[in-house]
């Protein structure tokens, strides 16, 4: 099926099986920053943005993306240096496998206006409930989001 979408700011014409997942397609292009974790949309390792909203690439059929602007961690790395700095400065990672997903969740949080409530810590933690991390205990990740959302 022919599709047109925007990937990290560049228009892309593709001809793919519409039931292929966005995750498989991205990784087939060599964009391996988006990871396969649980495969069922629970762990967040495959988080990307579709028209500015966070989605699970493992559960997104590529046929639904015609005309959609997709942003991956590779794109965010270019367009959001302050976000990357926040994660680096706060050391918001250990093994790093969940980190791209958390970075994307942070990017989505900013776009969604997260961080305006009276209890920012809770707000961030609930925003992150779909992004698992087994290494860090989340403290430095929450700190990184806090730092990024405050900027």
């Amino acid at each position: 099926m022919r599709l047109e979408l925007t990937l990290n700011g560049s228009p892309v014409d593709l001809d793919e099986d519409p039931t292929a997942t966005l995750l498989d397609w991205l990784r087939s292009l060599g964009l391996t920053g988006t990871k396969e974790g649980c495969g069922i949309g629970v762990c967040g390792a495959c988080t990307v943005l579709g028209d500015g909203r966070p989605i699970s690439a493992c559960l997104t059929l590529i046929g639904t993306l015609d005309g959609v602007s997709v942003l991956t961690v590779e794109g965010v790395a270019q367009s959001e240096p302050t976000l990357v700095e926040a994660f680096v400065d706060c050391e918001a990672m250990q093994c790093g496998i969940c980190t791209p997903g958390h970075v994307m969740a942070a990017a989505a949080a900013k776009l969604a206006g997260i961080g305006a409530s009276a209890d920012v810590d809770s707000e961030i933690r609930y925003w992150l409930e779909g992004n698992l991390c087994r290494c860090t205990g989340y403290e430095t990740i929450v700190a990184a989001l806090r730092s990024y959302l405050e900027r």
Binding site: P18, A20, G44, T47, L59, T60, G63
Partner: protein, 289 residues
């Protein structure tokens, strides 16, 4: 370039969608996450996918002129409901439920229509809609029809939606003097299906007498469970000294009507006990203050 495993169409009109669905063999999707999951687990091999998320009338949120009801298009997402300022004010229990289901990625693409079409008794939205007296609108070759939300699910993961029919939206009444509340009990991780979910609404007249009450539950039967709360509460003053006892009666009824199963979320006996506890709590939240 891989061979297409299915025909995929994205109609931009309702009539277009119904035409594509006329064979009764098409699989409908909005966000598509449920379909993606089923394909990935090799449980379905659809030959035709009808993507309805681009149909404008399915995406609309419309309050009627007198603000006596609101219509949500079937493809309105949970995230859109949760952050819609008017919906948060008018239907706080719905906005709360929409904002707490799953995680932000789920809420980005999960839709009202999708939540209903699934017939999954563990999901939060259907009981909330039922408790609010919601009507579900469907369109098919024979025209339009509307049914109470409580009658949509017919069994575990089954609904009365015909294969060539599409849920187009829901209409939720906005009666004055209504307090509604949703409680979801997640004793393990907060990111989970509820062990029990209780959606309650209570309507009072200007004297503070209860005129209507609705209770519906998630996770306790093969479909969302509706409890006849009105029968037990109508005519009772909300401020009655005895109100707690009346609420407990409704709670007991809910526990008796339920058919919970043993699973990771809890044993049947524990769920039954929790139904009673949480039904009482949800109703108390409606009548207090």
């Amino acid at each position: 370039m891989s061979a297409d495993r299915a025909v995929f169409v994205s109609p931009t009109s309702l009539s277009g969608a119904l035409e594509e669905m006329a064979s009764g063999q098409a699989t409908v999707l909005a966000g598509g996450t449920s379909v993606a999951l089923l394909i990935g687990q090799r449980l379905i091999e659809p030959s035709k996918l009808v993507h309805v998320a681009r149909i404008p009338e399915l995406r609309a949120v419309h309050f009627d002129a007198s603000r006596s009801a609101v219509r949500l298009g079937a493809a309105v997402t949970l995230a859109e409901i949760a952050r819609n300022v008017e919906l948060v004010a008018a239907l706080p229990s719905l906005a709360y439920a929409a904002g707490v289901v799953g995680n932000p990625r789920v809420r980005s693409v999960a839709t009202v229509g999708g939540a209903l079409a699934h017939g999954d008794p563990r999901q939060d939205l259907p009981p909330v809609l039922i408790s609010l007296g919601t009507s579900v609108w469907l369109s098919g070759p024979g025209g339009e029809r509307s049914i109470p939300a409580a009658t949509l699910a017919t069994g575990f993961m089954e609904t009365c939606v015909a294969p060539d029919e599409l849920i187009t939206g829901v209409v939720i009444p906005l009666p004055p003097g209504q307090r509604a509340h949703y409680s979801r009990f997640t004793p393990q991780s907060v990111a989970d299906y509820p062990t029990v979910g209780v959606a309650a609404s209570v309507r009072c007249d200007s004297n503070g007498t209860i005129t209507d009450a609705k209770v519906a539950l998630a996770g306790v039967a093969s479909t969302a469970l509706t409890v006849d709360a009105a029968g037990l509460l109508a005519g009772v003053p909300a401020g009655d000294a005895d109100i707690a006892a009346r609420l407990s009666e409704v709670a007991r009824q809910a526990a008796a009507d339920a058919e919970p199963i043993d699973d990771r979320l809890g044993s049947a006996s524990y769920k039954r006990a929790m139904i009673a506890v949480w039904t009482r709590r949800a109703l108390l939240a409606c009548v207090a203050g």
